[in-house]
Assembly symmetry: C2
Homo-oligomer: 325 residues x 2
């Protein structure tokens, strides 16, 4: 099987609404009338973003959801994707299983694969994802990081910490074991696409939690020129048991605040939309919670502070994930 | 310098006409009214698509032009790009020089960098490029591979063979030396963007020559359901000297027909547009030539045949580049 046969067999399906779909030098696509494209690209590299033991079916799913999470954070509806594959060799069983997980995830959202490229190299996978949002009077109706206002409430969707805990346990960095649910949170994250689209009418700002809660909260606070005060005890988490364990508490706290891979949404909304947000989370079957308050930025306070149940500031050194740290 | 500082320092500039530029979870862009986006993605991997000795300034330029060549083949005007970088480490001198070549190439076409991602890994570079073409009555006005008609003339822009010859000499596969011009053709190819836009009104089909003349001619012939008869002696080339050398002739012939990296356009046009095509090539300062004729496909002839000056069929085994061959 050569490169062209691989593409034809596993990665070519008709795209129903593209002006020109895959198979030419490039694809031609247009947003729906009065909409604009929301575009993002993300890569997964073996050993860096996923363990070599990860089932390729889950890897295919994960690649899609990791990218869709960025679209979800903007409140965009997914439309198209392009796939770049670097493979050390053509292993038909592996590619077939990867493709199965990949297409199942695309099909769930009706996304058309409009192009890509394949080459030989260390295992690396990239998607460029296209979503769309309405444009009203020349302005995109999307959630940005920069819209948080003093007085707004800070929210997260879902539960945090499970994915990071599972990864720490699997790599041996944490000397404990992860539950099946925590491992699933790491291996098969779910982009909050439908929630993101609903939140567009409610939230004042939004970001997805790919790199860790504190890191993302800092990005949002800086983009909005505000500070965020977070209440540790209110953060929804699947780490309740290990947070209650004196031996593991410090590591669990660090995990909950700084590890990535959650792919939940961190967002802000006006206080008078509190019930609307609660109803939206419930409607989408997600836990989620209000975890803090937006304050005016001051030169004295740090952009993000976290208070424990005794009212003390939690000091955390590593504020997220830097690929070169 | 960490990942975010690297992105801020080298890869963040305002994008003047995006609805939302870089710096958020995703960018938001729309095509000009009555246009659609033409999108393509391509990767360069060290040791596979470029030699480790390549000056990063040239690598930055090359990455852009390799992608724009696909837009050129569709007749699209470049608009935006997204960049994915995998770097083994942050070498500021290297990144700075890469960024210089990269931005110079983007600026030449007024392209805005709207996003991307950076990670640690084996050196690999990817661009997703966005161009645009007009849409008239719901149909994209672009050049496809599938429009060639029996009776059309087959053309190429520029000169072929130089880049492939230089690569063969540099890797030692060819025991000869390359001229400075041939090395420049390999290291610094130029996407035929302006020519592609002009050809939209003239050509019936088009493809860019990234993988070798015969391979691309086969793609075009199959997409158009025609066969192509090419006249070897009419192919414009910088390999005249080595083709005239009895010891090197066979290797030069193979190089001219099957090696990639030329990034010229292979296209077809009706016979009555012959003078228009000649004038366009001259207007853009390009050599180029008519190299053959389109015939109806038949089950007896192969999709592409090449005839030498004595009227004999040239047999070439390897018809282009397969990343996994």
């Amino acid at each position: 099987m050569n490169e062209f046969e691989l593409i034809n067999r596993f990665f070519t399906r008709p795209v129903k609404d593209a002006l020109v779909g895959n198979g030419d030098d490039a694809a031609i696509v247009a947003p729906t009338a009065d909409h604009a494209f929301v575009v993002t690209t993300d890569s997964l590299i073996e050993g860096r973003h996923f363990l070599p033991t990860l089932d390729p079916l889950k890897l295919g799913r994960r690649l899609v959801h990791v990218n869709l999470s960025d679209l979800a954070a903007m409140g965009a509806s997914p439309r198209y994707a392009m796939l770049s594959l670097a493979l050390p060799r053509i292993d038909e069983t592996w590619v077939s299983r990867f493709a199965e997980g990949f297409w199942a995830a695309l099909d769930e959202f009706g996304i058309g694969l409009v192009g890509g490229n394949t080459t030989r190299g260390a295992l690396a996978l990239s998607i460029t994802a296209f979503g769309e949002v309405p444009v009203v009077s020349g302005r995109a109706n999307a959630m940005l990081r920069s819209g948080a206002k003093a007085g707004d409430e800070v929210w997260v969707s879902g539960e945090l910490g499970g994915a990071g805990w599972a990864l720490g346990c699997m790599t041996g960095e944490i000397e404990a074991s992860a539950t099946r649910e925590q491992i699933a949170a790491y291996e098969a994250p779910t982009a909050r696409v439908a929630l993101g689209i609903s939140l567009r009418a409610v939230a004042t700002s939004c970001i997805d939690i790919s790199d860790g809660l504190l890191s993302e909260a800092n990005h949002l606070a800086r983009a909005s020129h505000v500070s965020l005060a977070l209440d540790f005890a209110s953060i929804p988490t699947s780490l309740g048991d290990v947070l209650a364990d004196a031996k593991l508490r410090a590591q669990a706290t660090q995990t909950l605040l700084t590890t990535g891979d959650a792919y939940e949404l961190l967002f802000t909304a006006s206080r008078d939309r509190h019930e609307d947000v609660r109803n939206l989370l419930a409607h989408h079957g997600l836990r989620g919670a209000r975890i803090g308050t937006v304050h005016a930025a001051s030169t004295e306070t740090q952009a993000v502070s976290v208070i424990d149940s005794a009212g003390r500031m939690i000091e955390i050194s590593a504020q997220g994930w830097d690929h070169f740290a």
